[in-house]
């Protein structure tokens, strides 16, 4: 069957199935199980209303349970087992973790991940805040914002190609077609640099790609927050003789600090999962490995599910504090 037809059929089945499920289950509940008539009408309606939320929730809970909750548990289990050659598996305790901790590539990935965690959220938030503040009262600010926001729609792979062109190097003496090398030569550099192969610094060239993408996100959120600042606080500061920088750092930033934290943590999550950029640009060579790519290597190249799952748990462990913090905030807000 042609995939396009299969796709259309799936849409029809999926949408039809969902609508049919919700519609029919409601009818069955209201007319067959707890009919709203007869002697027990009040009790039946009450009962039906107790069951109905679960009818509405059932498909979502099923999908969430199967595709997100179960894998977490299963990954924990897999990280503690070893696949046996003839099929089946064997409990090995923490051996996978031990093996992982013994690999230099893992430490390199962890170290780089921490570097990413330090640099990318900070740089994206700072650039985003700068862009939000600068464009705030400009007549054409919205166009400027929209252009800075644009990389958000570009895939990590597309961005990788875009930036590989920026970092491109041609042999010495020939015309440079990568803009970075062209500037480098113009400034008096002699040897064109293979930017992505210079250990340690190449991490920053990869990070730049993510900063470029995430700045727009930070800018949009922070710009809305800046708009939400009460005018009076700014006016009062002006009356008191505050300069623009004082107003920005002493009046505006403290009032949106909550939003800054949200932006920071959201980008942190993105950083922890970053895979495509490294996979497409260096694939972890020249000491640019990160955890997500290390995990992919282990799972699908080395086919070592035990160590792969252990490194996935490592990512989960790093995400966990933010997860707890988000849940805590969401609960506090609901009260």
């Amino acid at each position: 069957m042609h995939p396009a037809i299969q796709g259309l059929l799936t849409i029809a089945f999926g949408v039809g199935g969902c609508v049919g499920y919700f519609y029919l289950s409601n009818i069955i509940l209201d007319t067959l199980i707890f009919p709203a008539r007869g002697k027990e009408i009040a009790r039946n309606i009450r009962r039906a209303n107790m069951v109905r939320p679960w009818l509405f929730l059932f498909p979502a809970l099923l999908a969430l349970g199967l595709y997100l909750a179960y894998p977490v548990v299963e990954t924990i289990r897999l990280s503690l087992t070893e696949r046996l050659p003839g099929g089946g598996s064997q409990f090995v305790g923490l051996a996978n973790y031990k093996q992982m901790l013994g690999e230099p590539k893992f430490w390199e990935a962890l170290q780089n991940n921490f570097l990413w965690l330090l640099v990318v959220p900070a740089a994206s938030t700072a650039f985003g805040l700068l862009a939000a503040q600068l464009t705030d009262r400009l007549a054409w600010g919205n166009i400027a914002k929209s252009l800075i926001f644009m990389p958000m729609a570009i895939s990590f792979v597309g961005a990788a190609v875009i930036w590989k062109l920026v970092y491109d190097a041609r042999p010495p003496g020939t015309e440079q077609i990568g803009v970075l090398n062209a500037i480098y030569i113009w400034l008096g550099g002699i040897e064109p640099q293979q930017w992505l192969t210079i250990p340690f610094w190449n991490n920053f060239f990869l990070m730049m790609v993510l900063v470029w993408i995430q700045t727009g996100f930070a800018m949009v959120i922070l710009s809305a927050a800046l708009r939400g600042i009460p005018e009076e606080t700014v006016e009062a500061a002006i009356v008191d003789g505050a300069g623009p920088f004082q107003i920005f750092f002493r009046i505006k930033v403290p009032q949106i600090i909550g939003t800054i934290v949200v932006v920071w943590t959201t980008i942190t999550i993105v950083v922890l999962k970053v895979f495509d950029i490294v996979f497409a640009m260096t694939n972890g060579q020249w000491q640019t490995q990160v955890l997500a790519n290390y995990m992919y290597d282990k799972l699908f190249v080395a086919r070592d599910w035990g160590v792969g799952s252990a490194s996935a748990m490592m990512i989960m462990l790093l995400v966990l504090p933010i997860l707890v913090w988000n849940v805590y905030n969401a609960r506090r807000e609901m009260r």
Binding site: P3, A4, Q6, T10, V15, C18, Y23, R52, P53, F56, L57, P59, A60, A63, L64, L66, Y67, L68, A69, P71, T75, Q133, L134, S146, I148, M150, A153, I154, S155, F156, V157, G158, A160, V161, K164, L165, Q176, G178, V179, W212, G216, F217, A224, E235, I238, I247, T266, K273, F275, A280, A292, F300, G308, A312, I315, M316, V319, L323, V327, A330
Partner: protein, 382 residues
């Protein structure tokens, strides 16, 4: 800042210039890709794309026509023609017939070649090569020209990528595969999530707060954790790698955000509307379909955009759940990564493929930016 900046015009200008610089910096890399996709491989390899917009002086190696084209004029053998392709507006400022002296002659000059023939080259590339004896050999003599070449663009690359290219260069199939992944994976979660979001927003039941907290938690669970367990699960129930698997995976991974966004939006719908409908005897199902769903359109649209961008741009989920060893079902992101590996130097192919793959999301982005921004504002955990 009006009041403050208004006092100092210099500050306003500093502000404007810094915004222009910032926008320029952010736009520059993408612009490079766009411009490069309209240049030939030679052009890309010999000059930076930023020079493509202006006439450039280039050192070219050209050839006259092969000796087969010679005609006899009296006792002379002559080849006439133009060094450039038809329609070229390039202007030669200097030329030579020896690689060590490429600027030996000016336009209109005549030079003697080693075999005794003489060559005249005009500024526009027209040449006349004449010899007393019949010329032989397979190719015409080389001419090294320094020429000012006006900007030249071509859609050839797009033709290669979309229509005529061989299997690795042709992106048409991957384009349709991507589309096939994206559309069901965008539509199906919306419906499932909308019902769940309504229940979480407007129905009272024990455990609701706990469920909402769980969904907030699941929002950030890295999908890396799900890869192996789900691949195992798909193999066990017999769907293996394929579209069904990738649709289901995207649905599952998209649900927390969908439910969270939609619930946040639905809870803002005025209570009166819903209670009036209840008093009038509407059931929850009717309220949902007739009132909530139409009113939630902006939130549905923002989630649809998110999910569309995410599934279109995804690489990892497609590699794990969709693309099998035959590569029949490859998606654009995957094919581009492969091109990066195999044709790393062929920028005309790479740039054009990348631009084809980002054109659709960019279109969606500019058309529906309003909803995207609204979704972002509602979706970042406060």
């Amino acid at each position: 800042m009006n009041a403050i900046a208004g006092q100092k015009p210099s500050l306003i200008w500093a502000l404007r210039i810094s915004v222009i610089v910032l926008v320029g910096l952010w736009l520059f890399p993408t612009l490079g890709l766009l411009v490069s996709s309209f240049r030939t491989g030679d052009q890309i390899a010999t000059s930076g794309w930023w020079k493509a917009l202006f006439p450039t002086e280039q050192n070219l190696t050209l050839r006259t026509a092969e000796p087969d084209a010679q005609v006899q004029e009296g006792d002379l053998w002559v080849i006439e023609g133009n060094l450039f392709e038809e329609g070229s507006k390039a202007k030669i400022s200097a030329w030579g017939t020896n690689a060590r002296e490429i600027d030996a002659n000016g336009p209109g000059d005549t030079a003697e070649l080693r075999d005794g023939s003489v060559l005249t080259v005009e500024e526009d590339g027209a040449y006349r090569l004449q010899s007393a004896e019949e010329m032989s050999g397979r190719r015409g003599p080389r001419v090294f020209a320094t020429a000012v070449v006006p900007p030249e663009f071509t859609v050839e690359n797009y033709e290669t990528i979309l229509i005529s290219g061989g299997s690795t260069d042709n992106l048409a199939r991957a384009f349709f595969n991507t589309l096939t992944v994206t559309i069901p994976a965008t539509i199906i979660p919306i419906l499932i999530a909308a019902f769940a979001a309504y229940a979480l927003a407007w129905m009272e039941f024990p455990g609701r707060a706990l469920l909402i907290a769980t969904i907030v938690g699941l929002l950030v669970v890295p999908l890396q954790l799900a890869l192996i367990p789900l691949l195992k699960f798909h193999n066990e129930i017999g769907i293996g790698k394929g579209y069904l698997g990738v649709w289901m995976a995207h649905t599952g991974f998209g649900l927390p955000l969908a439910i969270y966004l939609l619930r946040n939006y639905m809870i803002g719908i005025p209570r009166d509307i819903i209670e009036n409908a209840r008093v009038d005897g509407a059931t929850d199902f009717q309220i949902f379909v007739r009132i909530i769903l139409p009113l939630s359109f902006p939130a549905l649209a923002s989630f649809a955009i998110f999910q569309f961008l995410w599934t279109w741009n995804d690489l990892l989920v497609a590699m794990v759940f969709l693309i099998d060893a035959t590569g029949e079902t490859t998606v654009m992101t995957k094919q581009i990564v492969e091109l990066l590996g195999t044709r790393g130097g062929n920028w005309e192919i790479l740039a054009t493929s990348a631009f084809v793959s980002i054109a659709v999301p960019l279109g969606v982005f500019f058309a529906m930016q309003k909803y995207l921004v609204r979704g972002l504002l509602a979706g970042s955990v406060k």
